[in-house]
Each structure stands twice: as structure tokens, then as C-alpha cells.
């Protein structure tokens, strides 16, 4: 693996995993030597001159928005977070409250549209949080935060308006869908 290749991989890992990564960890993941890593890091830091920089504290590496753009980024982030969560946000939140905890794909299914952007906003605002799915470690579950519940003035989500009715109805609709789906599959077989 040459310098360029290695430095691309470091960059991609930092990007995909988010947050700082220790040199030790990089060496393990990339199966390279310490010297190769240092060379590639130097390469990466020299090549980066755009809106993203690679911050190096001697032990760990991390990608950040460049200092020149930090004011802009801060401003836009604030603006995004002060905006209404909108219809999409309310729908996703309602699905999580009444039917949750749910995985992202379950929320997508109920809403019929992709919710990844919406969930990102809800997470950033602290309205929902990700928890591990006991059934499948590769998929997160989303659940309401306690802050959200207290904001709504309830101690538990079953105090939400018509909680049992809505939860039952959504479960029923889903069961009906699954049943028809399996019937249709039989017809086609």
C-alpha cells in the first residue's frame, strides 16, 4: 500500500467513524507499521487545505471543519437547530413515542419515506436517543428522551393522548400488511 492509498484510507475511516481515532487503533485497522502511518498522516495533513482539516494531538487524529469556516458552521448549525422540526419531525417523533422503540427502517416503513435526515435532527436536538437493539447489534433502536417526556408533561409515554388506542391501531395495520404480504408471496410462488 503506498502513501496516498494509506492516507486516503485514514481519511475515510476518520470520516466514516466520526470523532477522534488513536494512532494505535489506526495501525490495527489498517495493518500497517507505525512509520508507514506517520508518513501517510504527514501526507494527509499536507494535502488537506480545504474546508476540512486533520487535527493531530500527538496520540489521536480527528477531522474537523477548518478554523476559517468555524464561524459559518456554528451559525448554520444554530439556525438549523432553532428551526421547527416540521411535519416530518412530528411524524417520526409520534411513531417513536406511540410505537417505539423502533429501528430506522421501521420508522421508514411506517412513514413511507426515508427518515434518516429527520432522525439526525431529532437526535441533535436531544428529543430522541439511540439505544442498542438487543435483537440485532447492527441496528439501532430509537426511543424518546426523558427530557422530551417531561417537556410534554408526562412521566411515561402511556400517558400520551389515547396511547393504547393509537398503539393498538398501528400494530393492527402493520399485522394486516404483513399478512397480505405473505399471502401475495404465496400467490406468486
Amino acid at each position: 500500500m503506498n502513501d496516498q492509498e494509506l492516507s486516503n484510507k485514514i481519511e475515510a475511516l476518520l470520516f466514516a467513524l466520526g470523532g477522534p481515532i488513536a494512532r494505535k487503533e489506526l495501525i490495527a485497522k489498517l495493518t500497517c507499521t507505525s512509520d508507514e502511518l506517520e508518513l501517510a498522516i504527514r501526507h494527509l495533513r499536507e494535502a488537506r487545505s480545504g474546508g476540512i482539516v486533520c487535527v493531530d494531538d500527538g496520540t489521536t487524529l480527528e477531522l474537523r471543519a477548518s478554523p476559517e469556516t468555524s464561524a459559518l458552521v456554528e451559525e448554520v448549525r444554530k439556525e438549523e437547530l432553532s428551526r421547527d422540526i416540521g411535519r416530518a419531525g412530528l411524524e417520526a417523533l409520534s411513531a417513536i413515542l406511540y410505537r417505539g422503540p423502533l429501528t430506522r427502517s421501521e420508522i421508514d416503513f411506517i412513514r413511507g419515506v426515508n427518515s434518516s435526515q429527520t432522525l439526525r435532527t431529532l437526535l441533535m436536538r436531544g428529543l430522541v436517543r439511540k439505544i442498542e437493539n438487543p435483537k440485532d447489534a447492527r441496528q439501532w433502536l430509537y426511543e424518546p428522551t426523558t427530557e422530551l417526556l417531561s417537556q410534554l408533561g408526562v412521566e411515561h409515554r402511556d400517558e400520551l393522548p389515547e396511547f393504547e388506542i393509537v398503539r393498538g391501531k398501528l400494530a393492527e395495520l402493520e399485522a394486516a400488511y404483513r399478512l397480505k404480504e405473505s399471502q401475495n408471496n404465496e400467490t406468486n410462488a
Binding site: 466514516a16 467513524l17 412530528l90 441533535m124 436536538r125 417537556q151 393522548p161
Partner: protein, 238 residues
Amino acid sequence: MPLNVKTPVYEGPLDLLLELIEKRKLLINDISLAQVADEYIASVNAMETLPVGETAQFVSLAATLLLIKSRSLLPNLELSGDEERDIKELQYRLAVYQLLKDSAKGLRQSFNGPMLWEGTPQAPEPMFLPDDSVTKESLRAAAQVLIQGFPQLAALPKVEVKKIMSLEDMIESLSKRISSAMRLSFREFAGKREKGEIIVGFLALLELVKQGIIMASQEKEFGDIQLQSDQVSTPTYE
């Protein structure tokens, strides 16, 4: 007696038709469409069930194919402007579908190849930024939107009877015009047969006409059609 014949699954009438043409390594044109018409109709008849929504499409395509076949056999069969347009449209749709179906195969390979992974944005410090629009009432209202818009799956009903009937209706009306074009009553030919057999009979008739196509055009001079004649010539398009 239950038949356990595995019929291949088609995405729709265009898919089936294209399959038949490609199987014979033909180009999309009047000639190839006339050639596969019988097999298309036979395949549709062999399908045990069709989704209701698509029955009409399978049948209307069968009608267009029969028009193409009839015209190839009976050059004096007059087609209306709409019918001409249907034929042109079918050829256009088939050509477009063929291209995009091939491209879909390329996409499948791309889906199996390397992908571009998304990044994980750095999580900002934990915060709670509520939104005034989030209330018990607005959440209950949003739940209603979810309930009303919940995905519904239409069951696939079985409609084999309807399918044959409508195909038959179409053939019957077409047969009238063809018989006037060649002065031979299809009713006389077909007699009182079972519904399913009429289709078969009609196709058989077309085959006979195909054999005697020159005679059919000589009809005026001699005043009659000799289906079995010494002067039979092979159709020019094969």
C-alpha cells in the same frame, strides 16, 4: 386435474413480449411482432393468475399484436389511425423498455460493487432543544396522519375467467373485420366452439391464411378463396 407447471414470472406484458422476441434473437419490428403474437397469447392463457390491474394491459397488448399479425397476413386490412398509433407506440415502448431493462442489469452489478459510505458527523455536546410545535396534541395529530397513510398492500386477486372473456371479445370484433377483408366468415370457420378454443381456432385460421396469402389477394378476380391451392406461395417475410 391440478397442473403444477412452473410458469416464469414476468414483470408485465412488455417484459413477456420482449422475452419472446429476444429468445428468437429478433429485432423489434412489425415482422418479429407478428411472429411472436401466437406465443404471446398462448403464454398469457397459460398464466394461472394475473393481477387485476394488469389484465387489461396484457389483453390490450394482445389486441395490438393480433392487429400486427393480421395486417402482415392480409395487406388489404385497413387499420384506423388509432390502431396505427397503437402499433407505433408499442414498438417505441418495447425499444425503450429493452434499453432500460439492459441498463437495470448494469445497475445490479453496480449495487454489488463498492459503495460510498456516509460519514458520522461529530456529536455536539448533549443538549435539549425543544420545539414549541411539539405538544401532546400535535403528536396525537401526527399519529393520525401515520394511521391514515399507513401502507396498504392490495391483494392479488385471481381473474383467469375474466381474462379469457376479454381476450375473446377482442378477437371476435377483430375477426369480423378480418372476415370482411377476406370474405370468409370466421363464425363459419370456428363454428360453435368453447370460448378458449375460439382463440386457438382464430390463430389456426390465421395460419391457414398465411399459407394462402396470395390467394387472398386474388380474391376479387376469382371471387372465392381457395385455402388449399396449388398456387400457395410462402410468405415473403420469412
